[in-house]
């Protein structure tokens, strides 16, 4: 086994039987690699900058966490209301409230550097150049384990057409970011694309170390008393259990085509849900909305996966990745090879 990105999250007790291997490398083609002790990641926008949860759960035990989406300049976000509950889901239109990349760098890397858990920074931008510029700035920082590029943003140069809806535009962003940094690079796909597989293949070709999906679906709720959209922004991103079937389908399709690791997310709220995504072909998973409902959920899922693996005699999680594909999926190098 190659070395971990940071030390193991839990010192094994002497009486522990040799445990199953939950570790995963999300950037196997990258010399800087992105090794996680387990495949459970807190999703962008749902975990702040890690500190918000540090007093509530043992953050260090996570496979990794992804920061709130960062932009080049600080943003104060959208007017209120920013969230609305929907059946088994929620809409958000936070509007990327964040301190900007300089604000992030001032505060967090030096804290993250002292942490065992890998911190991944999620970036949003309005032009290819801006994405690249942000990646270059992050490249030099300590305490940053990787970058997740959110391509579900409007491309100002193309009249606000979303980067992530178009394979070409997504690949352009990926290539520019790739050129600007050697950091492990996840590209986070948009479910709004008419054919998400072609977007995934394009960003793989353009140099992404991994793809993560899905971002939120665009939705809306109307307040019938006021006869107006509930959200000040009218539309918002739909997340939570409601979108799980759509997310799972997209992960299944993408994992059936690409060779880089796939990070699956969308409505994961239990160990069972996590297993569905792994079997669909995800090498790791992110948990977003469900953390709001149950902050300890990611830790419960880590423990739950371990219990499940022991019960099923699964030694390496790689044995399960893609298992639901009757004909298998392209081999990926996110997990150690299973001893035969």
């Amino acid at each position: 086994m190659t070395t971990m990105w940071k030390g193991p999250s839990r010192v094994p007790e002497p009486e522990d039987p040799p445990g199953p291997d939950l570790s995963v490398d999300l950037a196997p083609g990258n010399p800087r690699e992105l090794r996680l002790t387990n495949p459970v990641i807190a999703a962008s926008g749902c975990f702040g900058y890690g500190l918000e949860y540090a007093g509530v759960i043992d953050v260090q035990t996570l496979g990794a966490f992804v920061s709130k989406g960062i932009t080049r300049r600080p943003r104060s976000g959208n007017p209120m209301p920013r969230i609305a509950e929907t059946p088994a889901g929620m809409l958000n239109a936070i509007g990327l409230q964040n301190p900007g990349i300089a604000g992030l760098i001032r505060k967090y890397p030096r804290i993250w550097e002292t942490w065992r858990v890998p911190a991944i920074v999620n970036i949003s931008a309005e032009s290819v150049e801006e994405y690249a510029e942000m990646a270059a700035i992050l490249d030099e920082q300590p305490g940053i384990a990787g970058i997740e590029v959110n391509v579900s943003c409007p491309n100002v140069a193309r009249g606000g057409y979303c980067f992530g809806w178009d394979p070409g535009m997504s690949a352009e962003v990926t290539a520019a970011v790739r050129a600007a940094t050697t950091l492990p690079l996840l590209v986070k796909l948009s479910p709004g694309a008419v054919d998400i597989v072609s977007v995934a293949l394009a960003v793989e070709e353009a140099g992404a170390d991994a793809v993560s999906l899905i971002n939120t679906l665009v939705g809306m709720a109307i307040d019938t008393r006021r006869r107006r959209p509930v959200l000040a922004n009218a539309t918002g991103g739909l997340s939570g259990p409601a979108i799980k079937p759509v997310a799972l389908r997209m992960v299944y399709q993408v994992a059936g085509s690409v060779r880089i690791p796939v990070v699956g997310m969308g409505g994961i709220s239990s160990t069972e849900d996590a297993l569905e995504f792994l079997m669909a072909g995800a090498s790791a998973i992110e948990i977003g909305t469900a953390i709001f409902v149950q902050p300890s959920l990611p830790l419960e899922v880590i423990a739950g996966l371990e219990v499940w693996m022991r019960a099923q005699g699964v030694e390496n999680l790689g044995e399960v990745v893609g298992a639901a594909h009757p004909a298998g999926i392209p081999l990926r190098r996110s997990h150690a090879q299973v001893a035969s």
């Binding site: 926008g45 749902c46 975990f47 702040g48 918000e52 949860y53 007093g55 509530v56 759960i57 043992d58 035990t61 709130k68 104060s76 976000g77 209120m80 209301p81 920013r82 969230i83 609305a84 509950e85 929907t86 059946p87 088994a88 889901g89 929620m90 958000n92 936070i94 409230q97 939570g240 259990p241 709220s269 909305t289 953390i291 709001f292 409902v293 149950q294 902050p295 300890s296 830790l299 419960e300 880590i302 423990a303 739950g304 219990v307």
Partner: protein
């Protein structure tokens, strides 16, 4: 329950706690006063204005998805009991009010900041609208216990929506207003405020946002500088309750502030209205 979660609770890190429903009684019209037994360390952390985010659905369901915030109405650390005043409104509160003795609730908390009593403040004016009484009742009890004078104003639609005086310490001066005049002043509770402004060292309010607007309009000509200081509890829909999602922000003169961590209590003069 996984071992991991158990360990966290042991290390005192998780704020996810289980509470046993020990009593439910009708209170304040159609509301329900819910008594919940929690670990005693939790009951000791309560301050007036703090709240719990309560899961309002059965196990295995994911709808309604999000927790609902409820202010602590009373806390008895000795018996490790908390009380919440639940007004039936929509899906979450209806479910909560239908609980029975022996049911187990999933609570996250205590969360948020609290009303702060200035050390020198002797005369406290509390202004509550409807179910907004909850945190102010707790505050009034603490204030009286520390020897302060409290005037407690409560507004409701009609007499049946008023809190029985027995829930407040007898030393409190309790004055009410009803929209229909069926008890006390006929009109808004904020109409009563001018009578007490000069007397009050501090003002504490909890109610719907329109109440704060009329409170503020009524106070503007009467206050001397920013005296008396006014604290309001801002109601926001919340997702995380922990400052992570930025869904519950309040626009203040210092920028966007989360009402779940940096609130729910804000200085009235700090909020951009």
């Amino acid at each position: 329950m996984s071992g991991v979660q158990g360990a966290l609770v042991h290390h005192g890190r998780s704020r996810e706690i289980e509470g046993d429903v020990v009593a439910l009684e009708p209170a304040m019209g159609d509301s329900t006063l819910l008594t919940v037994r929690v670990p005693s360390a939790v009951a000791a952390e309560i301050r007036p204005g703090r709240f719990f985010d309560i899961l309002c659905r059965p196990d295995g369901s994911s709808d309604p998805l999000l927790r609902r915030p409820y202010s602590v109405f009373a806390s008895d650390p000795a018996r490790a009991e908390l009380q919440f005043l639940v007004r039936p409104y929509g899906r979450g509160s209806a479910w909560l009010a239908r609980r029975r003795r022996g049911d187990v609730l999933d609570l996250l908390g205590p969360l948020g900041n609290a009303y702060t009593l200035d050390p020198g403040a002797r005369h406290l004016l509390m202004v509550a609208g409807g179910v907004g009484v909850a945190p102010l009742v707790l505050l009034a009890r603490e204030a009286v216990a520390s020897g302060r004078n409290v005037v407690f104003l409560l507004g409701a639609a009609d007499a049946s929506g008023l809190l029985a005086a027995g829930h407040l310490p007898s030393a409190v001066e309790y004055v009410v207003a009803t929209d229909d005049g069926s008890k006390g002043h006929r009109g808004f509770v904020t109409d009563l405020v001018p009578d007490y402004v000069r007397w009050a060292d501090q003002v504490f309010a909890c109610g719907p946002e329109p109440m704060y607007r009329s409170l503020r309009n009524g106070l503007l000509p009467l206050r001397i500088g920013n005296r008396p200081r006014v604290q309001v509890s801002m109601e926001r829909e919340m997702a995380c309750g922990l400052g992570a999602c930025l869904g519950c922000v309040v626009e203040t003169k210092r920028g966007m502030r989360t009402s779940c961590v940096e609130g729910p209590v804000f200085d009235m003069d700090d909020v951009r209205w």
